[in-house]
Each structure stands twice: as C-alpha cells, then as structure tokens.
Amino acid sequence: MTALVRFRLAGFLRTGRALAPVLAGLLTLGILYGGGRAQPAEAYGVSAVVLFPVLAWQTKILLDVEPDVQRRLALVAVGPAREQAAGLVAAAVAGLGLVLIALVFPWLVGGVTGPSLPGQRSVPAGVALGLWAHLLALPAAVALGALASRVITRSAAYGVVVLTLGSVCALVLGLSKSIAPWLAPPLLPTAKALVGPLPGSTALLLTGWALAWAAVALTGYARARTRRA
C-alpha cells in the first residue's frame, strides 16, 4: 500500500495541479494574518477553520487527478480496501504538507507573537495546540474531499456542490447558535476553545468529536465505493 500511496502522491505533485490548493491556502493565510499580531494558539485555531475547505479541495484534486481506469488498475492490483485506503492516506499526507505551511507561515509574515503578558501560553505550547487544531480538521476535510471526488459524485458539477455545501455546512452548523452543532466537525468549537484556557476534558471531547465525524463520513465513502469502482 505504501507503494500506491507514493505513486498517487507522485501523480498529484507532477501534474502541477498541486499548486492550486497551495496557492489558495497561502492566499487564505495571507488574508488571515494580514490584520495584525495574535497569540499563536488563537491564530492557529482560526487558521484550521479557514483551511478546512482548502484541505477538502486538495483531497478532491488529488483523488481526481488519477484517471478512472488507472484507479481500477490499482484496485485489481491491491484489492478494494487497500486501494481506497491508499487514496485517503495519500490525501492525508498531502494535507500534512499544507498544515506544515500553515504552522510556519505566520512566523514568516509576523502574524503571531510570543507571550507579552504574564499568564499567556508559551510559544511551544501555542504551536502544539495549533498543530492539534489542524490535525482535528484534517481527517474531516479528507473525508469531505473524498465524498466530493469524481468516483463518488460522477460529475464535476455534483463534486463542486458537495464540496461547497459540505464546507459551508461545516462552518454554519458549527456556529454557537446552530440547531445541530454535532452535524458538523468541531472546527469553530475548537477555535473558540483555543482563545481561553483549554481544560483537558474539552480537548478530549473535541478530539473524539472530530474523529467520530471523520469516521462516519469515511464509512459513507467506503459504502458508496462498493458500487463505484
């Protein structure tokens, strides 16, 4: 399966289509950090929210770059379960690259500062919490991108609809006055939790929530794939 992950990442990176989501990510981060300086944890919380659609889009691009027949050839070679898993892992690895950029970016443009007042988080703690926030967003974004990929939606128009609706719902349903906040991955709740002190129980709850959401969405992807090669 490692070989297939590597093959798909190579296919993604060599076509140049990998550039589009990276540029979109940089643009989003540029706007986000253009306003001024913030504490790392807070800033990273918001960055994970705004990167969610970009990560999902990148996943869709990565999965769609491979021609349908090539995906079926891979399926014949390694079997359906590993073929699907390899695509998701490749998307997650590509997503980690974007997350890394998101963690480094604010330090390059001076979007974040170290602690200036007593009681504020240290820089390593802030970065660690930022990494955690992004890692919560990544599985959900990969799952959404997979559900929007061509093998599931079969047409470009439906793909865009799933991607856009999914991203909008993930944000709107996560607002504090939402009627069904549990329908969305915990992007905004995580960002909010990073503003103040973060109790361990909240961190655990958010982690479980994010993983459960991704697990449900990925199960949907796997089920839909039984009829779609």
Binding site: A3, L4, R6, F7, A10, G11, R14, T15, E66, P67, D68, V69, Q70, R72, L73, A74, L75, V76, A77, V78, G79, P80, T226, R227, A229
Partner: protein, 262 residues
C-alpha cells in the same frame, strides 16, 4: 473461478446490464468473449477481473493475482513508461530489484525499449496498449483478462498476445479475451462465450478440432472458379469481399465479420 447467478447494474434504478449469469473458467482454460458493441463484454470482463462488484450473486474462487488489460490504456498520466511500470510493479508487491528486473524483461519482450523514457501521454495508441499489456503481466497472473488486446497493435505485437496467453495457460492460469475483429482465431482451442441481452451463452464448439480463418487474395477473374474449387475441397467460404456480384451459391448465414475461407 465462477460467477454464480450474477447480475449487474450500474445504478440502483438503472437497467440490468447482466442478469443471472452463471459461468466458470477453469485453470489452464482460455475463453473468448464475443458480442455486439455495448452488449456488456467489458462489464463481464470487469466483473471477472474484480473491478466491478456484482449487484446480485457471487464471484467465487478468483485467483489472487489478476492481470487486467483495459480496453483503453489511461495514458493521461505524468509518468515515463519505465517510471510507470516500475511503480506498478511496486504497487503489485514486488521488491525494488524484482520490479526493475521484471520491468526490463517485459519492456524488452514487448519492444518498448526505445520508449522507456518517453512520457505516457506522448505514446501512440498501440505503444500505450503495450504498456497496458505489460502492467498486467508484472506478476504471473492466475487470471488474465484482456479487453480487446489487439486494438491498435502492430503485426509483431499481435503475434505476441497469443504467445503470452499460452504462457499464462501453461502456468495454470485462466485467460479471458474479448474481441470484435476476429483476431481470436489466433487462440485455437479457446471456449467461446457470447454476451447478448444481459445473458452469457456458451457457444458449443461443433467439434473438438480447432478451426482457423485464412484471408486470401484472388484475381477477380478467377473468383468463381476459386470459390468453387475451395468448396469442392471441403472448405467453408464465409464471405467474399471487394466485388459486386456474389458467388454463385450463397453461403449460410454465419458471422458477418469474417471474410474468408474456413
């Protein structure tokens, strides 16, 4: 391996492309799949190869290593011939050194040597088809599924397909081939399945002796005499092409695409 009562449709409310198909192929056996365009030949082959899952019924005892040559090789990929084949060998589970050795073997055998560093997108259709053939043979397949393998191949490569098929059969593998151009006469002894109206019917071979189709070129002036002589010798004239008047006796309605004497 067996298909047991297999039905397939592409969408939940879509039409059944295949229904209640029960067919089997034994190790060492070759099967030719015939049928009109859109009859479901490719669908049947993809079910057997494991690309598609049946909507109804079961697939039993599929060999663990399957080689599938799709009808059209997906050449729209950012790899060179060598890079692609080595990657596919690694995906198939070969070690780096095994992968290199196997790829070199098939590249030489299929005459892909001059194209090793050429990008897939720049290959001609026939050369791309050879890459498609090579990727299916990187591990010795227990089941080899060839969807129109002769499409676009040059004369030398066309002779290679039966050789490869024979080798797979000799190793105890099964081979399925679809074809609509009558090239399968190159596979004497193969069983014949005909796909029509969602069903698969095995065509009973009239006798065990294999038959072949031979194309002849005959001067128009000698045509009636030649046809008569061939018939007198017991040959079966399937069709005469390239002249307006039909030969004096009409031949029985047989498969239209064959043009010659049997």
């Amino acid at each position: 391996m067996w298909l047991e009562d297999v039905g397939l449709r592409y969408h939940r409310r879509g039409p059944w492309v295949l229904r209640q198909v029960t067919v089997g192929v034994a190790p060492g056996e070759a099967v030719v799949v015939l049928g009109r365009n859109g009859a479901g030949k490719s669908t049947l082959l993809q079910l057997l190869a494991g690309v598609l899952r049946p909507s109804r019924g079961r697939v039993l005892d599929r060999p663990s290593v399957v080689g599938w040559v799709p009808e059209r090789f997906p050449a729209d990929q950012p790899f060179t011939v060598d890079g692609y084949l080595v990657s596919m060998a690694r995906v198939a589970g070969l070690s780096p050194s095994e992968a290199d050795r196997t790829v070199r073997h098939w590249v030489d055998r299929l005459g892909l040597g001059p194209f090793r560093t050429v990008r897939l997108a720049q290959l001609s259709k026939g050369t791309a088809q050879k890459v498609g053939l090579a990727q299916a043979l990187l591990r010795p397949p227990g089941l080899l599924v060839l969807d129109e393998p002769w499409e676009g191949l040059d004369a030398v490569a066309r002779e290679l397909v039966p050789q490869v098929v024979d080798e797979v059969l000799a190793d105890g593998g099964s081979v399925l081939v679809s074809d609509h151009r009558g090239e399968t006469v190159r596979l004497p002894g193969a069983r014949e399945w005909r796909v029509a109206d969602g069903a698969v019917v095995e065509r009973a071979s009239s006798d065990a002796a294999a038959v072949a189709v031979v194309e002849l070129e005959v001067p128009v002036g000698q045509l009636p005499a030649t046809v008569a002589r061939l018939r007198a010798e017991g040959h079966h004239v399937l069709r005469v092409r390239g002249q307006s008047a039909p030969p004096e006796t009409t031949c029985p309605a047989v498969e239209p695409p064959f043009e010659v004497a049997r």
